[in-house]
Structure formats: structure tokens, C-alpha cells
Symmetry: C2
């Protein structure tokens, strides 16, 4: 029988991405990117002048053009506090037309632009590198329509994911994606980075659930692919160019998203396991026993879990020395059926010796507590100081090997933790190595080794975080030369002056 080790005393600790960090390190403490990466050369863009500012003020009004250094600073630094740009202006349009007017002007005047959503990216893609103008979607937060019958949401790019989740829930729907940063991230940023997250296993990637996109190209032309239809085979499927190109081909301004019906019953099991072999065995069993109701299969090793437990002061639902933990979520239309399936699965996993201990939750508050542990890992680890983050896809049989290999390799260095967690169901591992501060020697021990190893095992060097600024030097580990050439050609036709999010995504930068 499965031991129901109830999570009685765990309390909801609501944490917020933005406020979480400010007590530890301020934006001004972060070294400027152009200093840290001193080989990097600024592109031949114009520098912003009062004349430019006046123009922006004429279309946006003064209140939506930030130029005061204190106001601008938070837009210059990523939330991990690892990169820092030197932008002098932040623009806050409210409409597609304003975005179009801004870009047309910037293109004519060769002013570089960094589009920014919720600034929750993990690869430095959403902050300037030098003095690019920040184009923030923060005020583009209108929900345009929700069709209850078709389940299609249409909204502006600056809507916060968690707010959309609440809005569509009123119509019996849910968002097809969910991720730790939901309280801050913008849907436009999610789309531009092709965000993955914890529901991908069940609801698939955004390439499937984003029905339409409206985007503005570098020269200000609006590309209207804002279809709300599930099927539309009329010519090239252009919207996919904007999914995952991280703002280098256009600024996403609106989106149409297929939202699935909100499940009636949600259950979460948090399980303790002895070995990674048992993790895989449990995954195979879950797929066969839980089938269509399996909605998440999340994994964390001991260091990852304990980082969250300690920092968030949450009770640990499994013994504190458990080598591996799983968070398995089911969601379906009938709680009785789902509980029967889950119970059968847990009995079988226990009988086969795959799992040792665990807890079950079906009330929303207790489910949230368990998810907080998983979702709080990223932030908790960053409290150690500097985090070397690797977000890799691997064939499932090699999923955890790299964590042990890196621990061995880093013996004797000043690293604090080397741990792994992530989405087993999607073959996506988050390998995190923490250290008191950024250390070039430590970096050189980790990179390019970790990428070469991933490439050798036919994995992806960026599963869901994207390339951003930090990974442009390693794209070639996962993309062929011909693919990279085609990327450059597409960039050239869509943004010939290269004003959109320069130094990002495309390889070739010297850092």
C-alpha cells in the first residue's frame, strides 16, 4: 500500500520573482555586460539623442518614455542578476500602431532596440547588451476576446501569464502553458522564446497551441497572422518564425491561443525514489497507467529540492536525504476515475519497489505547496550567489549522467551546489551549478565541456530557455551549418539593418 504521508503543516508561501531578489543584490552591483564580456564590440548603431527622445515622447506622451537612470535601471538587468545593459531609454507603447511607429523610426535612424516582456528570461535575451532602447510590452496588457465555445483567447503581448490563467478560468478554460515565472512573464515573451514549462507534456509546445500571431517587423510593417482558426493551410506558416526567435525577427504584439478546457479534477503525487533507474521505471509506468490524464512528470534531485525547502521555509514532503523526488500531476474530467487510475499506479509503483515514500494532494492549497517546491528551485539556487545554468534536452537514458560527471569534474573548485531537476517527461534537464560569485576559471571548466557532452549525446544545448545573449557561442552544437546559414538569410530579409535585439540568438558574436 502507498503510504499517505500527509503534508499537514506545509504553508503556502507566495513568493514574487521581482521582490525575491532585491534584498540580496541590487541592480547596480551587477557588472556591466560590456565590461564582463570585454571582447564584445558595439554594433554601428546610432546613439540616442534628445531629438530621438522628443520624437518618442510625441507618439507615446512623456509618461511612457523613461529616461531617468533610476527608472531605467531595472530594465537593464536580468532577474538572475547576471547581465546588465546600459540603455538610456525605455519606451512603453500601448498599441500595435505605436510599436510600428517606434520601429519604423528606429529603423530609419538605425537605433538598436531590445524588446522586453516580463524580463524573466534566463539567458540574457530580454535586457540590452550595450545601449539598445528597451521596448517594453508592460502596458500592452489587454485581453481582446475569449471564445468559450472554441476556447480561443486573443490578447495583447504584454498580458501576464498568471492574469490570463485567471481570466480564461472564468470561462472554464486554462492556459496551455504554465511555468515558474507565471506571475511576471508576458505572453508575448513566452511566445517569442517558445517557452516550455510544466504543461508541455500534456498540452504540447506553443507551436501547436498558438493559433495566430501579430508581429511588427523591424521596418514597422505589421505582419498579421492573427488567425483564430485551428486549421489554416493557406501558404507558408509564417507565425512560427516569431515563435522562438526571441524578438530578433519581429516584436510580437498580439496572439491567439487555443486554451483547453479546465480539468475538473487535479491530483498531485510527490514521491521519493532511491535511484534514477527507478525514476525512469516510474515514468514508463505512469505513461501506461495514467495515459491521457498525466499532465506533469517533474523531477528533482536532493540538492535541488533542499534548496527550495530551505529558502522558502516549506516543509519537506519526503525524507530530507531522498536522492530523487518526483512531482506527478494528473488532470482530468472525472475525479473518481482519476483517483482510481492514480491509486492503481501508486500501488503498482510501490509493489515493484520503484518508490519508497510520498504524499498525495488534491486540494488546491496543498497542490500549490507541492508545486511551490518544484517551482521555487530556480530562485532558491540563485541565492547562493552566481548560478551557471544549463537547460538541456537529452535522450532519456542519459538524462542524469551529466550531473554526476560535473560533480566529479568540479571537485576542488569553489562551487557550492551541482544539481539537476526538470521535466523528465520531455527529456529536459536543468543542470545548475552555483558559486559564491562569477568565476571565469569555473566557467572554463564547465564550458564548452557541458555543451560538447550534450552534443555528443545528440541533445539540445538549449531545451526551453533559448539562446538569448549567453548562448550565441554554442548554437552550433545543436544547429547544422546549413541551418545557421538559413537563419542568417531570414534575419537579413526581415531585419536588414539588424536593429532588433542585436547580439542575441544568431551566432558570431565574439563573447
Amino acid at each position: 500500500m502507498f503510504a499517505h504521508n500527509l503534508l499537514k503543516t506545509a504553508r503556502a508561501k507566495h513568493f514574487n520573482l521581482k521582490s525575491f531578489h532585491t534584498s540580496i543584490v541590487t541592480s547596480f552591483d551587477v557588472e556591466l555586460t560590456q565590461v564582463r564580456y570585454s571582447n564584445l564590440k558595439r554594433g554601428k548603431y546610432s546613439s540616442i539623442t534628445d531629438k530621438h527622445i522628443s520624437f518618442f515622447e510625441s507618439i507615446l506622451s512623456k509618461s511612457r518614455v523613461l529616461t531617468d537612470a533610476a527608472d531605467v535601471e531595472s530594465y537593464n538587468v536580468d532577474w538572475l542578476k547576471t547581465v546588465r545593459g546600459a540603455s538610456k531609454a525605455v519606451l512603453k507603447p500601448k498599441t500595435t500602431e505605436e510599436v510600428s511607429a517606434i520601429l519604423r523610426y528606429c529603423n530609419e535612424n538605425v537605433l538598436a532596440v531590445c524588446p522586453q516582456g516580463g524580463n524573466t528570461g534566463l539567458v540574457g535575451g530580454s535586457v540590452p547588451v550595450f545601449d539598445e532602447i528597451v521596448l517594453s510590452t508592460a502596458l500592452m496588457n489587454e485581453v481582446i476576446s475569449i471564445n468559450k465555445t472554441s476556447g480561443v483567447l486573443v490578447c495583447q503581448a504584454g498580458c501576464i501569464l498568471e492574469n490570463l490563467e485567471a481570466k480564461v478560468a472564468e470561462q472554464g478554460l486554462m492556459m496551455p502553458l504554465d511555468l515558474g515565472a507565471k506571475g511576471s512573464c508576458h505572453i508575448g515573451g513566452n511566445i517569442s522564446t517558445n517557452a516550455g514549462g510544466i504543461r508541455l507534456l500534456r498540452y504540447g509546445s506553443l507551436h501547436g497551441s498558438v493559433l495566430g500571431v501579430e508581429a511588427v517587423k523591424a521596418d514597422g510593417t505589421v505582419v498579421d497572422c492573427l488567425s483564430t482558426l485551428k486549421k489554416d493551410n493557406t501558404g507558408y506558416h509564417l507565425k512560427h518564425l516569431f515563435l522562438g526567435s526571441e524578438g530578433t525577427l519581429g516584436v510580437v504584439t498580439k496572439a491567439a491561443i487555443q486554451c483547453p478546457p479546465k480539468p475538473q479534477a487535479v491530483n498531485v503525487a510527490f514521491l521519493a525514489l532511491d535511484s534514477f533507474e527507478n525514476v525512469l521505471a516510474t515514468f514508463r509506468l505512469a505513461r501506461s497507467c495514467l495515459g491521457e490524464i498525466l499532465s506533469s512528470f517533474e523531477f528533482m534531485d536532493c540538492d535541488s529540492l533542499m534548496a527550495a525547502v530551505t529558502r522558502l521555509k516549506l516543509q519537506c514532503p519526503v525524507p530530507e536525504d531522498t536522492p530523487f523526488s518526483l512531482l506527478i500531476e494528473t488532470s482530468g474530467g472525472n475525479s473518481e476515475h482519476d483517483e482510481a487510475k492514480l491509486s492503481l499506479f501508486l500501488d503498482e509503483a510501490t509493489n515493484k519497489g520503484y518508490i519508497n515514500d510520498g504524499t498525495l494532494a488534491s486540494e488546491p492549497s496543498r497542490i500549490k505547496n507541492l508545486w511551490d517546491l518544484r517551482e521555487g528551485i530556480t530562485q532558491s539556487l540563485s541565492c547562493d550567489g552566481y548560478v551557471y545554468k544549463y537547460d538541456i534536452s537529452l535522450p532519456i537514458e542519459h538524462f542524469y549522467d551529466i550531473v554526476d560527471i560535473m560533480k566529479e569534474r568540479l571537485k576542488g573548485t569553489p562551487y557550492i551546489k551541482c544539481c539537476g531537476y526538470g521535466h523528465v517527461g520531455d527529456g529536459n534537464l536543468h543542470l545548475n551549478i552555483t558559486a559564491p560569485s562569477f568565476d571565469r576559471n569555473l566557467l572554463n571548466l564547465i564550458e564548452p565541456f557541458v555543451y560538447e557532452w550534450t552534443s555528443k549525446h545528440r541533445g539540445s544545448v538549449s531545451a526551453e530557455h533559448g539562446i538569448g545573449f549567453k548562448k550565441t557561442g554554442v548554437v552550433h552544437f545543436s544547429k547544422s551549418g546549413e541551418a545557421l546559414k538559413l537563419m542568417a538569410q531570414i534575419k537579413a530579409i526581415m531585419d536588414p539593418k539588424g536593429i532588433l535585439n542585436p547580439y542575441k540568438v544568431l551566432p558570431g558574436d565574439p563573447h
Copy 2:
């Protein structure tokens, strides 16, 4: 209570796309496309000579270069017998390297090429218009790997969908797409046309389930995007350019496809309804009662169903004058749970007066009989002579209006049937108008009216069939000017000489 009107005597009638037609009209009876569309001008391509043939024979061997008129003919005509090219050569490569060598040579010699899979397309996209060389994927039919744990299939482009279904079933998996032409269509053609079909409601579009693609560009360069990973955010998501571009940007040579686990329990209900209003009410009820196990929701009106019943000599599972019929399929992991959900749904639909009659099937042979009725409609209608086919997406509230509008509009013309069927769950209607033979006056009454009406209701003028040859003149009803411009730019960088599938997809041809 729901009436179980058992389908006792229905027999499996296995029909085959290719053989179905030959008794009615031969390929040589079909008017040449260049004659029927006499405004059309041949592009400035070279004409094929003995020297070219010798080169192709040197890389493929003589047996894989067809030049005999009788051998070539079936590759020149679409299976609907509506368009006919005048190609003089068919090439049958077996490997990506051979495809690359052929295209490099054709590009250097400015020879136009028409890539062809199973030639089951419905918009004339897979046959030549003039004398383009046919590049057939028929011999590229190798299954490269099936990973049982991850569910990923890797195969060559010429594998027939039904064969793949059988292969992955051996590993407890299923293909994420299914369509009437499965016995003939090639997976490369499915991908190149972004085929929809009857499982899209549950498993989503190919943009979600195709993990990777290998394709050869016009100049022979191989673009390797054959990732087998569920998540890979390294740069632009190029594979989507090959999905739905109908062979105009490259020839798909291999694909990696995410296959879902094969469901343990499948049930099909075939239901009779009085009004389209009840169809919509039943759809809403099915979504809420059946949730995650709903896998198809197919619709047919009386004329569509009776065409299949009559031509395929199958027993009609509902009264023959039933205005609207639905085929609803559930698939899940537990037959007891699924039957309980289905039973609850049917009781509620009956009690609310949405459905009048129907039959249930859970044995494979009876399920197949019911599906044969739905899948046999397309072919059965074409037995009338010529079919004007419209495959449109519409907001669900306008789904059936156009059928009645067209019936009214065509009164007094020689049309035989005007009927509608399709995928209600995806908002995708197949409007078919049959006539004894092609009639320009009838065509002018239908077009552009039907496209204008669709565009006015914010629908798509080609939901799943694509643009091919027949719809290049109407793409603009569903694509903005900026989108069309971007399409042309992409075509120019990927196929600057325009040798790949000319006269297709891109607007501007005079017909």
C-alpha cells in the same frame, strides 16, 4: 435511454484510393491543365533532353528513371482526375543523397521539379502543371528507428501513413494523424501539406507532433533539422518552413514524429440529429462530458452520408433521411472509465433532445465500418463526375450556413449534390458540389463567391488541403499583403530560380 441500434450486418468494405477510380475515368480522359487553364504561361525553365535523362540514369540506375509515356501517365494526373500535367520523366530516388544530387543538377540546369508523395492531394499540388520532372518519394520508405520509451519515430519521407501506423502499433504507439487517404499518402506529403485529418482534435497539428525534419533545398543542400527531442530552443524554428509549404521551399526527405501511446480503449458513437443547432449543442456537451478522451468529432449531412452508403454498399447506421449525423470517437486508457463517460454523455444528449438515434461500437471491425462511411465520402462524391471542392475553416457558429446558401444560389444549374461534412471540432467544413463534368459557368457561380463569403466571416479558404495549384488565386482572401510579401521573400532566398513545384502555393499565377 440511448437506443443501441446495432450495426449487425454492416460489412467491412476495404477500398483503395488508387483502384477506386480507374473504372470510371482514365488518366488520358483528363484535359491537360495547360489546355484547361489556357491563360497560364510556362515558366522559363529548360526542357528535358536525353542528356539530362542520361545524367539521372547515372545516379539512379535506369530502372528508377521512368520515361515511357504509359509509365509516367499516372504521375501526371491527380487522383480526383481534375488536373493533368505533361511531364516526360519520373525520378525515384531512395536516399537523401540522391535527392540532393538530383536537385543540385536541376537547379544548375534550370529544370523545374514537382515533388510527389502518394499523390492523394486535393488541390493539384502533387502533379506537374506543364512538363516539370516528377520527383517521387515512393522508394524512400525506410523506417529508421522507433524509440519505445520516448515514442519517437524516425523515417524516410516516402513511408505510407497506414504502414507507419502498423509499425508503431507493434511498439504500443500510434501515429498522431490519421486521414482517409492513409492507405496511399506518404508521411513526407503529409508534412509538406501540413495534413490535418481526424485526430487533430485530440493530438493537435503536425507543427506540434513533428519533432524534426530533414529537407533538401532547391540547390541540393541538405537542411538537417532532424531533432528527435521534444524541446529544442536553439535558434529559429526552421522546420516549420517545410510544414505546409507544399514542396516549394524544399523536399522533405526524413522526419521525426512524436507518437502518442496507443489507447487501450476505443469507442465510436454514430448519432442522428435533426438540426445543426443540435450538432453544436452536442459538441459542447461532448467537450465537457468526454474531456480528455474525446478524439474525434466528425460531422456529415444527409447527402454526404448517403453518397458513401450508396457507393460503398454499406448499411446506413441511422435512418436514411437523417439530416445530420455525427461520428464521435473516444480513446483512453481504461475501457470501463471511458464507457461510463460515454454512457453519461449519451444519456444526457438523449434526455436533452439533442440526438434522436444512433449506434455504438467498440469492436475494431465495427468501428472500421463506421469510419469507412465517414472516410468514404470524398471518393464516393467524385463518382458523380466532377467535384468542386472547398475545404474551409469557419467560426463554429457559421459552420453550416454556406451549404444552404450555395444550394439556393445554384438552383437551376446542372449541379448534382451540394453537401457538407467535416471536422466540427476543428471548425473545418468540406463543402462539395458535384456535377456531371467540369463546367466553367458553374465554377463562376461558385467562385469567388464562396471565398468572399468565407473571408467575410474571418474563415480560412483552405483549412487543411493547402493551396496547391488550384487555390493560388485565392490565397489573398486569407493572407495579408505583408504576409504574402514575406512568403515571396522566403521563396526567393530558398529557391531563387523557382525550380521547386512552380505554379503552386504562391499567388500571382494568371489562372
